[in-house]
Each structure stands twice: as C-alpha cells, then as structure tokens.
C-alpha cells in the first residue's frame, strides 16, 4: 500500500533550509517573502502494515526532539506551496537509504519492487506573491525540469486531507529486452543510422566499420555464433569506443598548420604523441620518481620510499551545463573512481575543482539553460556533497567568470590518491587481468541513466541533446565501495581494477580485456535497477558508483565475503579469456562477437585545417591609455572584480581538513580567509613529508595567443608550488584542455581553422614548458566542443564558443612540512622584495579587461631566467630566510601586494622606482616540421609607467618578505638575479605606494581594500 509521510521541524524552531530559500529568492529576484518552511516528504511504495508504518514513522523518520510528522498533510498556514520531486529513474539516494533503514528496523528485507521516493514541499508566506513569481521560484531555483517535477498549490488548490496526493515516480518499462540485427548496406545507410540512434560516428570511420563486418573471415566466425548482420549492441559498443571522449581523436589528429602572416605551412601529426607523450616519456626516463604514466586511469608518482601518489583530472562540462548539481556531483565522484581504479587501487586524499561560468550577474539577452548564478550554485553544491560525503578533502580550486562560458560551462574535477608501493610484495601500480580471471561488477546497479553521455559530450549543446544522460552521483554508496576495495586490495584479491565511467561496461571491460586478450560477458547477470533495459543499454549505461574488478576464481569467496561485510553489491558477470574476442551473450545467445584487433585497426586519422592569424594581424593592438588619476580607487575596483575577489563562500563549504592531513590550508592569513598560493597535505600522518598542490587557468590570454596562455598557466602553477615551499625537483603536471569545436565549417564553424591553430600552439607551449621546467604530465584529458547555441532576442539562436582554456594542475614534494611558507606578511619591519622582471605585459590582463580592452602584449614566460630565480627562491625558503612568499598572478603587483598585506592585517610601503623592469622580446618561428620559440629578457630602466608597473601580469615574479637580520644572506642567494627591495611591512594600517616621480601614488587602508575584495563576491 502506498503511503506518504510528511516531516517538518516543530513550528517554534528556526528552519534554516527555508531561510536559505527565502534569502536566495531575494538574492536572485529581489522579491521579499515573509517566511519559508520546508516539509520533507517520503512516499512509500511498500507493503508495510499500518502498525509497521507507524513504527517506521516514529522510530526512523521523526526526531521527537525537533520534528513533527504525519501520514496526512502538515501544510497548514501558507500562501503558496511548491512541491518538488524527482522524475522517474533519477537517482534518489535518500529514498534508497530509507528502504535500507526500514528493512533494518523491521528485520526483514523489503521486496524488490518496493521503494521510497523523497520530495519536498516549500511553504511560502507572503501575501504579495503572484502565481507567476511562485512559478519562477519553482522553475529557476528549486526544480530542474530535466530531473525534477514540480507543482504549485494555493491553499484552495490543496485538498485538506490528501495534501499533495501520492506521486510515485516509478520507472515502468513495458519492454522486453531484445537484440536487433541491423543491415548497413551502404556508407550512407550507416551514417543515417548513426544520426538516428545518436551514435555520433565520424563519417571517416564508417567505411572501416562496414569493411570489417563484410570480411569473409569475420562473417565466417560470426556465423558460428548465429550472427550475420551487426547487432545494435555491437554498433553501440563501437560508437562508444570510437567517441572523441574515449579515443581523443582530436589530439591524435593531423593538423595542416599554416601561418597566414608569413605563409609558412607545416603538418602537425598527432598532438598527443608529440606534445604530451614524447616529453613525458623523455622526462620519465630521466626521473625514477615518475612511476606510471600515460596508460592507467591516473598517473602515479613517488611520494616517499614507501608510498606513491596518484593524480588525475577531467571535466564534466556537458552534464553540469544541463543539471549543475547532479552533473558536478557525478563529475567529482567519477574522478574519485579513477583514483580508486589506479594500479590495484589507491586511497583518495584530495579532490580539486575548477569552474568557468558566465558572469554571475549576467543580465543580457541570451538565455542559457541555467542562469550562471544558479548554475554556479548548483556546481558548487554538487562538488561539496561529493567531496564531503566521501570523506575526501577538497582543498584547492578555481573560479573564472567570462561571458564566453554562457554557451557551455567548464567544470574541472581532479583527484589525488595514495598507495603503498607494494602490497604483499607486488608493485601496486601494476595490474593485469589474465584469461580465467572473473569479471566482477561492484557497487551500484545499472539503469537507463547516462546512456549516450560520452557521445553527447562529444557534441556541442543544442536543443536536441538527449537529457537522459544527466545523473546524480551517490557518494555514500561509493564511499562504502572505496573502503571495501582497499581492504580487498590489501588482501591481494584484486588482479585488475578499473572504473565504470564514460561508456560504462563497454569501456571498462572493452579496455581491460585487451590485457587478457578477450572476454566473455553474460549480460543477463548484470544487476539492474529496474527491468526492461535493452541489452545494448546494459552494455553502455553509465550508471554511477560501479567498478569493474578482475578476481582469480580461488579468491572469489573471500572477495564476496568482504563485499557482503561492507554491504556493497558485487556480481560475477563474466570471465576474461584469451580468445582475441569480445564476446557478449544474453541468456545464452551471442549478441556481440567482435575481434579486439578491430578496435586497434587503422581508423583514419581525423584531419583539421589550422590557420594561425597572429594577433596583430587580427587587429589586436595595445590600448592608448593615460595614467589613472586615482590609483587607489582603481585598485579597490579591481579587487572587487569577479575573477579577483574573495571565493571564501565556496572554500568554506568544502571540507578541506578531513583526514587530518592539512598543512597549508586553502585559506590563510590572520582572518583565515585569503587564498594561499597552493595547499600542502601530509598524506602520511606519521611522516613530515608533504605534497603541495596548485592549479591555474588563464583563459583571457587565449584571446591574444594560446601559446602564451598555456605557458603562463604552467608557470603560474609552478610558482604557486614554490611559494609554499615545494621543491623544483619532483614537480608533476596534469593538463586539462577545454576547447571549442575546431573542425572548420564555412557555415557552422567559420573560425574553426583559427581554433584549431590555437589548439596546436597551446600544445607546443605545453611541450616546451614541460620540457624546460622538467614537469612530466602525470595525467591529463581534453574536452572539446565547448560551444552552446543560445536563444536571444527576436528568436535568434546564437552560437557561443568558450575561450580556449587549459587548466594546469601541479604537484610538488615538500621534503619537510615544518618549512612551509604562506603568503601573508607577518612581522612589521620585514623587508619586501619583488623577485623577477616586470615587463610591459598587460595583454589579456585583469586591468585591461576592467577597462574593456584585450591588448596585444600578452605575458611571456622566460623559462631560463625564471629557473635560476626559482632555484634561489627554493633555497631561501628551505633555509628559513623568508617570512612570507606570494606569487604575482592575475591582477598584477598591486592586487597581490594588497592581498599579502590584508591577509597579514599589516601595512606595507612600496616604492615603484625599485621595481626591476625589463624589455622582453619573443619570437615564434614555425619551420617545415618544427616550431621554435625563443625569448630574451633585457634589463631596462624607465620603460614602464606607474599603472603598468602596478598591473602588468608578467610571469616569473614573487613578492617576498624577509626579516632584516636575514637581508644579507637572502640577497646573496639572488646575486645577479632580478630583484628589487621595494619597501617594508609596517605596523600601520595602510598600503602606501610611491610612484616613479617619488610622490605618493596611493595610500589606502589595508582593511578597506580587503572589504572591497570581499564585497565583490556578494
């Protein structure tokens, strides 16, 4: 019998959930609501007796101290009620936990068809509220049509006895699973089929696929299995395997690169091989700390003599763009599984994030699916719940706002893990499934969710994008699985493990079976959330919280025993074999029989025309600006801008200290609210060795030249590590590219050639900087198609392409954590040094952006000069000569000096006449088959004016404070390097800057600057 329980806080208690909504309604729309209270609803589709229901209500779901509940309605006094519940098939963790708890309380397992569905009723009081306002609140704040349904009630519309009624969003599929054999008589037919079924096959792949199925030996071996035409299971599997998301066809493509300015052309064959793989392998061969790269779910590097750490990062843009909370949550728990599936499994030690969204206060004409403010709130909360509920600290991340991300947002998620070097004498980073090993699926069950997620993210967002690929992750289920799998690993029960992410079983088994040489999977054994899935859907579903594990038959009993103890579902679904075939059966009948060699076949390389138009040829130039009249007010303004201002509201919601490993926190300073340069963890509590982590992204530099965007971003990430005390010697990197579509089309993508050239140049910088700084790429990923088509005025749909973006994550070793340093100035009287040259480099800067310009002189990285400086800095921090250290990043010297001062809550006096200035000359010279970049930095005097000195974003610089007593030793270390003693820390309350003419350029109260910086985030 179905029943509904309504639960609410007792009326005399403050309702924080209601108050938050009330606040949000005001923040978003400016409307005042007198009061909001929330009722939690459980709709039970169970066979509980009346007495059992009463027991469950009282014992489980009602806190006698604070709550009241009823099987009738609790909604009494309101002007409007909004009910919000899930659509059928959407993951409802609270609902499944409720069933678990009911079974536990009653001591009997509930029948499989029973379920509990959770929903909420929001009771709004405010007699001025109109129906359309309430609808806006429901649609824009509370519910997302993709995953939720909602209804609005006025008091007269709600039946006093029935309340909202009983809504059961149960998935009912009146469908008998079937396998279809599909004729593909011509290339055109397969292309049409690809379109109709959303297979997203590349036209170039189509002849290869058809050719395979027509080969006599293939036809012969298939005939023995009762197959002739390709099945839907096979075509879907091929679609997954060939998708750009899984296969990185773009990065493996061939680029016909042309520089329109000098007419030079060259062929760039495979960016992945030349710019990622080659430098990383070369660095690995020189560095024994680089343990395992370029093949597993994450890269592995040495932490200490007994432990390795693992790291990876990816993006979850498309799903987050449609359902921000679910997409981001699924993204972060998904990247966690990559760590759990690295080597024989590693333990999670940190999660990382990076968000690029449209302006939070956007009020233009375009209509994104979710307004940036709501989108960002949802993303922030998704990663929060994923991290916090998983027991993984989320200590570092980025937020960047730019109108180009209105089309599609970027959600970068990263994760770090740690593993003992050896388990039972076996290297932990190695794994190999062998013929005879059982294939086990552990964790969640399979439903229709996430089908075609991989292929959808290989397309740009349009009104036709299938909504079904959005899911909601379940960190609770996954945390149980995490703990279970680590125990199984430590008992030596796991021979191979990988996660089920994009592509589901088709990817995890499809890829792992190449180690064994084949696999046979019995798809009817895969546990399902509900009946009625087609066989191909079982194979490609991306239902979350699942790992694929290879276990030797003699270990099966112990593995299952541990799984039961942790209450994690594990099922044997097949066996690895040495047959060379991927063999899928359903109830004994073969539904796929593909040669593994087919997937490694010569699919044609994707080709791109890449046409580089240098920025000056594109018409970019430096703006003509006078010296500002009021530098102080300008600084306040810059500090309050979205890409500079405080992000504490995000960082505070993320548990950044769980596991007890925190050494340098994301927020530092006397007020503990200013972001540090990097975070440092002590992943092994017994040791005093640390792991520093930082990330950087600088999309606005791409508007000038993506080569320098990438170079500056890598330099920034590295400087962030150095600033907290990490060494230069063992720095690892993770590159995450997010790019708009680069395939030229005269109508759909007229600037595709430029975007392709930008991608090539970005990769050249990645290669050059990694080699120069000695940073192997431990992991990385690319996500293309950052484009959206948004409706504007007059019913015109506009294509919006995101700025080419690469987020770089860097890790470094801190040999002794007690030597770490933070960015805030600490003691009055300390000397303030600026290290590194300041050049006329404001192209793409925050300052130019604030004035409405891009400019031309983008920051250029001089790696050779920088390296000498960085070595000296590393030594000075290790010797304890430095009292604070802060890199200078977006916003320039003025912004970052202000931050170091207000973080320390001390004054500072700086003299711009002492800033080491330089003229930087750089050259890019594409030759026939190579690309050269050279750069010289010449010390120069008197070339920069005050505002350029204040706001230039030249890389390679730090602001450092030093105790006067350490002055000589410090300066000795920096002999012949660019540094300037700009001034000192004062016990006053203001930041004073002396200009080039010797007059006081600004004198601003430090805490006033901080106030502006904090105000910007409201």
């Amino acid at each position: 019998m179905a029943a509904r329980l309504e639960i609410a806080l007792k009326k005399h208690l403050f309702d924080p959930e209601g108050a938050s909504l009330r606040r949000k309604i005001h923040d978003y729309f400016g409307w005042r609501v007198d009061q909001v209270r929330v009722i939690h609803v459980l709709t039970l589709d169970t066979d509980l007796s009346r007495e059992e229901l009463e027991l469950v209500r009282k014992e489980l779901f009602t806190n006698p101290v604070t709550q009241e509940s009823s099987c009738n309605t609790l909604a009494g006094d309101f002007h409007w009620a909004i009910w919000v519940g899930f659509r059928p098939g959407v993951r409802d963790t609270a609902g499944s936990v409720a069933i678990e708890a009911i079974s536990d309380l009653l001591g009997r397992t509930q029948p499989p068809q029973s379920a509990v569905y959770t929903s909420r009723i929001y009771l709004l009081k405010g007699d001025s509220l109109h129906n359309d306002q309430v609808e806006t609140v429901a649609r824009e704040l509370l519910a997302n049509d993709i995953i939720q349904q909602w209804r609005i009630f006025s008091p007269s519309q709600m039946d006093p006895r029935e309340g909202i009624g009983i809504v059961i969003p149960k998935v009912v599929l009146e469908h008998r699973p079937a396998v279809e054999q599909i004729p593909i008589p011509s290339d055109e037919a397969l292309l049409e089929l690809s379109r109709a079924r959303n297979l997203a096959l590349n036209p170039q792949d189509i002849p290869v696929i058809r050719n395979y199925f027509n080969r006599p030996e293939v036809l012969g071996s298939r005939a023995k299995q009762g197959l002739s035409l390709p099945t839907d299971v096979e075509l879907e599997a091929i679609s997954q395997a060939r998708s750009d998301h899984c296969n990185h066809n773009t990065f493996q493509g061939k680029f016909l690169y042309e520089d329109v300015h000098n007419g030079q052309t060259m062929v760039v064959d495979n960016l992945f091989k030349t710019c990622i793989q080659a430098p990383t392998l070369s660095l690995q061969s020189q560095n024994d700390w680089v343990v395992s790269v370029l093949w597993d779910n994450a890269g592995v590097a040495r932490f200490d003599d007994e432990h390795n750490y693992s790291i990876t990062g990816e993006t979850h843009n498309s799903p987050s763009n449609m359902e921000a909370y679910g997409g981001a949550l699924t993204g972060i728990v998904g990247i966690y599984r990559d760590i759990m599936g690295t080597g024989k499994g590693s333990r999670l030690i940190a999660g990382l994030y990076g968000y690029c969204v449209g302006p939070r206060d956007y009020d233009g004409k375009l209509k994104p699916h979710l307004h940036p403010r709501r989108l960002l709130d949802g993303i922030v909360e998704g990663v929060r719940d994923g991290g916090n509920k998983h027991g993984v600290p989320t200590p570092f991340g980025n937020l960047f706002q730019h109108p180009s991300f209105l089309g599609k947002c970027l959600v970068f998620v990263g994760a770090l893990g740690i593993m003992p070097k050896k388990v039972l004498g076996e290297p932990t980073e190695e794994k190999k499934c062998r013929p005879g090993d059982l294939i086990i699926m552990s964790g969640g069950r399979v439903g229709k969710d996430g089908i075609h997620g991989v292929t959808a993210s290989s397309e740009s967002y349009s009104e036709h994008t299938p909504a079904g690929h959005v899911q909601i992750g379940d960190p609770y289920t996954q945390k149980k699985m995490h703990d279970f799998l680590l125990e199984a690993r430590d008992e030596g029960l796991i021979t191979f493990i990988t996660d089920n992410g994009g592509g589901g079983l088709s990817s995890s088994i499809g890829e792992s079976c190449t180690f064994a040489g084949g696999a046979h999977v019995e798809l009817e054994k895969v546990p399902l959330k509900y009946e009625g899935l087609d066989v191909w859907e079982i194979w490609v579903s991306e239902s979350q919280e699942r790992m694929t594990v290879a276990v030797r038959p003699d270990h099966l009993d112990r593995f299952m025993e541990l799984s039961r103890m942790h209450e994690v579902e594990s099922t044997v679904i097949g066996r690895y074999e040495g047959t060379g075939k991927l063999h899928l059966t359903y109830e004994g009948k073969t539904c796929a029989f593909l040669d593994l060699s087919f997937f490694a076949e010569d699919f044609p390389q994707w080709e791109f025309e890449a046409q580089w138009v240098p920025p000056e040829v594109r018409g970019l130039c430096e703006p003509v600006l006078s010296e500002p009249a009021d530098h102080g007010t300008l600084l306040h303004h810059l500090l309050a801008r979205p890409n500079v201002c405080s992000k504490e509201w995000i960082q505070r919601q993320y548990d950044h200290e769980v596991q007890g490993t925190s050494v340098v926190k994301p927020l530092v300073g006397r007020g503990r609210d200013v972001p540090g340069d990097a975070v440092v963890l002590r992943p092994v509590l017994e040791s005093s060795r640390g792991l520093a982590v930082a990330q950087a992204l600088n999309p606005t530099y791409s508007a000038v030249d993506t080569y320098h965007m990438v170079a500056a971003t890598i330099d920034e990430a590295l400087r962030r590590l150095l600033a907290v005390g990490a060494g230069l010697a063992e720095v690892g990197g993770v590159d995450n590219f997010c790019w708009p579509n680069i395939q030229y089309d005269p109508v759909q993508n007229p600037d595709g050639k430029l975007k392709a050239a930008q991608l090539v140049r970005a990769n050249w910088a990645l290669r050059d900087l990694c080699l120069a700084y000695g940073i192997p790429l431990l992991s990385g990923k690319d996500s293309m198609y950052v484009d959206g088509h948004l409706m504007g005025d007059f019913g015109v749909r506009h294509k919006i392409s995101g700025l080419p973006t690469m987020q770089f994550t860097a890790t470094g070793i801190v040999p002794e954590v007690s030597r770490c340093q933070t960015m805030e100035v600490k003691v009055p009287g300390d000397l303030v040094y600026l290290l590194g040259h300041t050049c006329d480099e404001l192209g793409g800067s925050e300052y130019y952006d604030a004035l409405g310009y891009v400019g031309l002189h983008v920051p250029v990285v001089d790696v050779h000069e920088n390296l000498r400086l960085y070595r000296a800095l590393e030594t000075s921090i290790a010797q304890g000569l430095v009292a604070s250290c802060h890199g200078i990043y977006r916003g320039g010297l003025a912004v970052h000096a202000a931050m170091a001062a207000f973080a320390g809550e001390l004054g500072m006096t700086l003299d711009l006449r002492r800033v080491p200035q330089a003229h930087r000359e750089s050259q890019t010279s594409p030759g026939k088959d190579s690309f050269g970049f050279s750069c010289t930095t010449q010390k120069a005097l008197g070339i920069l004016s005050d505002h350029k000195l204040l706001f230039s974003e030249s890389p390679g610089r730090f602001l450092v404070t030093v105790k006067p007593g350490n002055r000589e030793r410090f300066e000795e270390l920096f002999e012949k390097l660019p540094w300037g003693l700009l001034g000192e820390v004062t016990d006053g309350t203001s930041l004073k800057m002396v200009g080039l003419d010797g007059s006081l350029l600004m004198d601003e109260p430090v805490m006033g600057l901080k106030h502006s910086w904090q105000k910007g985030s409201q």
Partner: protein, 269 residues
C-alpha cells in the same frame, strides 16, 4: 602502564577513522579500526576495548537526519553490548557524526543511565550550509567529562552542516546543573560567543559544542580534535612559527587535539 585498547568505528560512510586512530595511537593507545558489521556479527567484541570512538563522517549520507540511521542500527544490534561497555567503565567518544549518533541513540545526555532516550538534537546550521571553520572553545572545568579534564581554552575545526545543538529549556537546565556541557564556542579573544556567528558557527543554543553523560565517561562534541594532531594543522601555524622563532622559541610539533585522547588513555593508566 598496561595497554589501553581503543576501537574506532568504520563503515557506512564514516570517514575520520584514519586520523582518529592516529591521534589515539599518538596518545598511547593500541587502536583497531573496526567495521560496524564486524561488531554486530560478533567478529569483534566491544568488551575487548576500553575506549570506543564513533568519529566523524557521513554515515548513510546524512540522509533522514545526521546519525539517525547509524543510531538505529546500533540500538537494534548492539544495545546490550554498548550498555555493558558503558556500565563496565568504558569510555565512549562521539565526534561530529559520532556525536550525532550518540545523541540520536540517546546515550547522550543519558540522564538515566541504562536506557536510550533522545532528549537533545543536532540540527541544521542556522547559516543553512555545511561549514569548515576553526572555532575557539572554552572547556567547562567543573564538568566530570574524562576527555576534557584539565584543558584550557583551545581551538579546533568544525566541519558540519548539522551541528546546531538544540534542547528544550528544561533539558538545557539539567545539562547546565549537572555540568554536562563540556565545551562551548567562544570569541577569538576568549569570551563566550553568545550565539554570534561565526564564533558560534551553527547557532547552537547556549554556545554548546559538546556534552557528556552524568558519569563523564560518555561524551560527544562537534569540533574535531583528531584534525589537530600536528602543530601544522593550525591555520595560523606559519605565523606562530615566525613569532616564536624570532623569540628563539621552537614551534610545537604536537597539536592540541591530542590532549583529549591522552586524557582518555591516561584515565586507564
């Protein structure tokens, strides 16, 4: 000193077990991390231990109220073992999610020993959100609580979404009278927070951050002592090191959170 054995509970989304075990070890205990099902299936016995810690985390994802389902589980599967453990002089500590469990179980405030009755609650923070923040705390020096004996005012992080301590006035009065309030939130300079955000980070009534039962052997708190095991866990440590260094004084390696665990271990010494 004979070996003091401590059990740190794991499973179902609990997650601070590694650092809690580390803190207990640093305090001198011999520690086992034990899954709830190992206890309820009898593979491990509570009576083999002297200290039982239910630590932080998100048991059952905090669904249907933080700690509610874990409490129900313990009540139905381990009630007798737990009552016997407490009756025989064992120490029980609930941290964050563990505190929520003990409160929902009713062993806290435990006015009448030997029975489980919910009388106080930890509910959603007034700020409406999960929050990670270091807080200043004042220990109640008159409390019988074993864990907080001899502590001076101290700092620890809170990391929760449901930490607002709530009870009706009569219960609050009994807690006060019995000195069962063990820790209260304070201002940075030392006075009581008096409900003011962010010093009182969640809106707890009477600034209550932790309570104990009348014996002082069962206690719970929202702040995380196990997150302050090293001096470098403190948010200001680089500043403190600089200050101390210039006075020629060393920076302490140990964090203040260890003291609570040391009190527990020393109780059996």
């Amino acid at each position: 000193m004979s070996t003091v054995r401590a059990l740190v509970l794991t499973g179902f989304g609990l997650n601070c077990d590694l650092e809690t075990a580390h803190a207990l070890q640093a305090a001198g205990a011999q520690v086992d991390r034990v899954h709830l099902n190992e206890l309820s299936e009898g593979k491990k016995k509570l009576h083999h231990y002297q200290i039982f810690v239910v630590g932080g985390g998100f048991s059952w994802g905090d669904e249907h109220g933080a700690g509610v389902i874990m409490a129900m589980r313990i009540k139905h599967r381990l009630q007798e073992d737990l009552l016997a453990f407490i009756g025989n002089g064992g120490l029980v500590l609930g941290i964050c999610n563990g505190f929520q469990v003990l409160v929902n179980l009713g062993v806290l405030p435990g006015f009448a020993t030997g029975s489980f009755r919910r009388q106080v609650a930890l509910i959603g923070n007034d700020c409406g959100q999960f929050r990670d923040q270091w807080v200043n705390l004042i220990p109640n020096t008159s409390s019988p609580c074993v864990f907080t004996q001899g502590l001076e005012s101290m700092e620890m992080p809170i990391r929760h979404g449901e930490g607002k301590f709530f009870a009706e006035p009569g219960i609050l009065e009994r807690l006060r009278e019995g000195n069962q309030v063990i820790l209260t939130y304070a201002r940075v300079e030392g006075g009581p927070a008096k409900g003011e955000f962010p010093f009182n980070p969640n809106g707890s009534l009477e600034d209550i951050a932790g309570i104990c039962d009348p014996t002082g052997r069962v206690a719970g708190l929202m702040p995380h002592p196990e997150a302050y095991i090293h001096g470098t866990n403190h948010p200001d440590w680089t500043y403190l090191r600089e200050k101390l260094g210039r006075q020629g004084r060393p920076f302490p390696h140990e964090g203040g959170g260890i003291l609570l665990f040391r009190n527990a271990v020393n109780h059996f010494a």
